[in-house]
């Protein structure tokens, strides 16, 4: 059964080194929490400056909630093995995000698990350095 696993939020110690991978401030996100979204892809937009995913996730009462997941740009995602057709509407996925601090259904991307078990993440933005590829 599809389920929003808010109970799996865990505390991380990486809050102080979160870089600005977005066009906007990262301060909106609580980097000490992770929310695991188990749901269905509503839309996946492969575009600059940010790729985004909308995931339909039932809340605790069974009501469908659309979560907005913000990712970095395709430039960096390609380096991490992503493709524009890696997911499509209707796909069953598990997405882990750092949620916005307001409690609204929005978060910044941490990882994506596809139906076949493959796990995708982002890569650090270190273009021009030996570890950039």
């Amino acid at each position: 059964m599809k389920k929003l696993l808010l109970g799996c939020a865990c505390v991380l110690l990486v809050a102080s080194v979160a870089p600005v991978l977005a066009h906007h401030s990262p301060a909106a996100f609580d980097r000490t929490k992770e929310v695991k979204l188990v749901g269905t892809v509503k839309e996946f937009r492969w575009q600059n400056p940010h790729t985004w995913i909308e995931v339909i996730v039932p809340d605790e009462k069974g009501k469908e909630v659309v979560w907005g997941v913000e990712l970095t740009s395709p430039t960096y995602l390609i380096r991490a093995g992503w493709k524009s057709n890696i997911i499509k509407p209707g796909d069953k996925v598990t997405v882990v995000v750092n949620p916005v601090r307001s409690g609204e259904p929005s978060g910044i991307f941490r990882s994506l698990t596809l139906a076949d078990g493959r796990v995708l993440t982002e890569r650090p933005a270190r273009l021009g350095t030996p570890d950039s590829k």
């Binding site: 870089p19 600005v20 066009h23 906007h24 400056p49 601090r101 307001s102 609204e104 273009l127």
Partner: protein, 286 residues
């Protein structure tokens, strides 16, 4: 969005036209030592108009001076040692009262889990200096009379004139977020002086630190090549008496990126409908 695309296309077209022109030389390294005639001619275009930096006559005139280095390439802020290296502080200068109120408001907002006036996130231009250190590369194309910079972040265009012109009369300058940049060579350094900034929705930092950039902002950058041309170093000296005391100094390094090009990037009208954090209750917009 459409305006940005047109500006970018125009700049690129200009660069291509210049590169294809029959001017004697558009490559700095291939030219003769400086001659007295490289000074910008008064009333060069007639009726008081400045001759374009892309005019073949301007390019030819400036090509008489051999540039110490060529910035042409893609450059990306070096965050290999510090992921926060995109910021120009700490250290931060002593703020004026006009600026301190924003600093305090941002700290209070952060403590409450909110974001204070993140104008870049609302699609306002980052502007100088932040446009130089976004997490997207900046393409630079250098010709003898100018350097054209196009950021991978929103395709923001910055032009550094090298043709000997003076800053535009403050009474007629069109203020912008990247300002008006004029550079000259000092030994092996390129020194760029920038004024003419917009003073609204323009910030010196982001993400919990709010220091406004005002119309009095004046930025001097000293560019030099290091690490055998693999890195660009820029020393920043920034003043804005409305918002901080004295000189704010910071030195940044950028890595040359040879395996990536910038792409078309716009803050489309529907972007933030889907980047939901920017419209969430975390945002303090005023």
């Amino acid at each position: 969005m459409k305006r940005n695309a047109r500006v970018t296309a125009g700049v690129l077209a200009g660069i291509l036209a210049s590169a294809c022109s029959p001017a004697p030389a558009t490559t700095p390294q291939s030219t003769a030592p400086a001659a007295a005639s490289t000074a910008a001619p008064a009333d060069a275009g007639g009726e008081g108009k400045q001759l374009s930096a892309l005019a073949p006559a301007t390019v030819a005139r400036m090509a008489k001076t051999k540039a110490p280095f060529d910035l042409t390439g893609n450059w990306f802020i070096d965050v290999s040692q510090n992921p926060e290296a995109w910021r120009f502080g700490p250290p931060y200068p002593k703020l004026t009262a006009a600026s301190q109120v924003h600093w305090d408001a941002a700290k209070k907002a952060t403590a409450e889990g909110k974001v204070y006036r993140d104008d870049i996130g609302q699609c306002w231009p980052a502007g100088l200096p932040l446009i130089m250190t976004r997490y997207w590369p900046m393409a630079m194309v250098q010709i003898p009379s100018a350097i054209y910079m196009i950021s991978g972040f929103m395709n923001s265009v910055r032009i550094v004139y090298l043709d000997g012109r003076k800053h535009t009369d403050p009474d007629i300058i069109v203020r912008t977020y990247n300002g008006e940049s004029i550079g000259h060579w000092e030994g092996n350094d390129l020194v760029v002086d920038t004024v003419g900034f917009r003073g609204d929705h323009h910030w010196m930092d982001q993400g919990g630190v709010a220091i406004p950039a005002g119309e009095q902002l004046h930025i001097v950058e000293r560019f030099r090549m290091v690490s055998e041309g693999k890195q660009l170093e820029i020393e920043y000296t920034m003043t804005d008496p409305e918002h901080w005391e004295g000189e704010w100094k910071s030195t940044k390094r950028f890595n040359r990126v040879d395996d990536e090009d910038i792409q078309e990037v716009s803050c489309l009208p529907d972007l933030n409908e889907h980047i939901k954090s920017t419209t969430s209750k975390t945002q303090i917009l005023q």
